[in-house]
Amino acid sequence: MPYLKPYTYVDGNVLDAANQDANDSSAKIFINQDIVQADYENEAFDTSDFQRGELDPIVGHHQFTTGEVWGRFNDSAVTRDRSYFTAHTKTNDDAQTSNNSKQYQAIYEAGDTFVLEHDGSIFFTFGAQFISQSNDTNTKGKWDSRVYLMVATPTNPTPTIVQGTRCYTFEETSAVASAGTKDPGSVNYIGTPAPRDDFKQNRRWVQFQWMVNNLSAGTYRFFVAVNPKVEQGFSSARQFTAEVFYDEKYQAV
């Protein structure tokens, strides 16, 4: 609120030290730390008054004045490393395709560590092409390798899935065997069951936009991972960005 003078001087009066101190102190407090939004003229500031953002060119992070953006930006001119995943790390053939056997394998360049200075939310945009080869030794079927955004924190280092980001990539197979819990689609001539398409169901563009809400200040590891049910799969073209909004729950200190 505007500054209000606590004491008005009067000619001929002996100046009281306390009154003088009150005026000086109130002026000092107002100028130094008590100016608030109501004291500013409307529309007095533009973007030139804002603190410049900061780019870390090594990892592609940019801290904007109004928030922060992490991640690898999509650029079709950039060749991505193939990020392979395999179910062979599971203990046996049955475990490879079991829904109950979960080994989430992180996708390269689709994750980052976030240090939130205050409470906030993070908005993730992810897109990637996933290609899964057929299993050689296990029953061929419509195995669905599930893709999730996952999060780990220093106090809870075991990664947990963000359920709303669930996506699927499917085994390449020409077998009719019904195996996985999700049907990726099939080639069925009307009225005549036919073999499943060999190549189309195993190439999936996986994408999501998802807001993780109400995060407390702290350190988080968010990454996209796949629980593979195929012996070999990989992702090539990818994009992953994350945008931090400090709007929610932020309380000035």
Binding site: L4, K5, Y9, D11, Y40, C167, Q251
Partner: protein, 238 residues
């Protein structure tokens, strides 16, 4: 020297030894500070002084820079739609809708994001074999989403189409038409995620009431299955 500042204190007496200050002289610096009122502006402040700490929401939640609106439905239930005109996606009685409820400035920019998952749609036709050449023969394969903004413009309620995004039920293409007369169905594409974004910036001040995520199919013999879905809006106040 930097930019000249508008002084907050305009009247201050430089006293000399032996001076007897008057009340007016003593009152002057404090009165001039008080007269500033709410007129502090960019000339009083250093360039680059505003940081995100100054622009975010306080206890009132009234963010200066950004304002988020979000609808997350991470259901694993599939809801079928065979409507040929747009209807708002609704799962379990929960419409995919954001209440916005703000009046924008002219030229203000608001962005919208939506994503979700298409499940195991019921597909009976992906090509109009009986249709006339050059007609809508390929369109039965289509389904589409729309973001619809409900706004009040000039005092009158209206709707604004923020964009439409189309997808295909099957892998049908001209190269795999095994016959132009024998009906066949190409490979269905189940469990296909969708995601899209739009930016809207009105030319004048309008009231943003709500935004809805909608869907439709071209041919009502096909039913689109929609599973989880999300809708977001980010208001970037100027």
């Amino acid at each position: 020297m930097g930019e000249e500042r508008m002084p907050l204190i305009t009247n201050k007496t430089n006293f000399a030894p032996g001076d007897v200050p008057t009340a007016a002289e003593l009152n002057a610096p404090y009165d001039s500070l008080q007269s500033v009122g709410d007129d502090i502006d960019g000339t009083n402040t250093a360039t680059g002084w505003i940081t995100w700490r100054h622009t975010e929401a306080g206890l009132t939640g009234n963010a200066i820079a950004n304002r988020l609106y979000q609808y997350n439905n991470d259901t694993t239930n599939e809801t079928l739609y065979n409507n040929t005109s747009y209807v708002t996606i609704s799962e379990g009685g929960n419409p995919a809708q954001l209440s916005l409820g703000f009046t924008s400035e002219s030229g203000e920019c608001v962005r919208f994001h939506a994503s979700g998952m298409v499940g195991e749609s019921t597909v009976t036709t992906d090509y109009d074999y009986a249709g006339l050449p050059g007609g809508n023969k390929g369109k039965p394969n289509y389904y589409a989403f729309r973001l619809l903004l409900n706004a009040t413009v000039g005092g009158a309620p209206t709707t604004i189409n923020l964009g439409e995004w189309g997808y295909s039920f099957t892998t049908k293409k001209s190269g795999n038409l095994t016959s132009i007369t024998t009906p066949t169905l190409s490979g269905r594409i189940h469990w296909q995620p969708f995601a899209f974004s739009a930016v809207y910036s009105p030319n004048s001040s309008i009231t943003f009431n709500s935004v809805e995520l909608q869907c439709k199919v071209y041919d009502n013999t096909n039913s689109l299955s929609v599973e989880r879905h999300q809708l977001y809006a980010v208001r970037a106040k100027r």
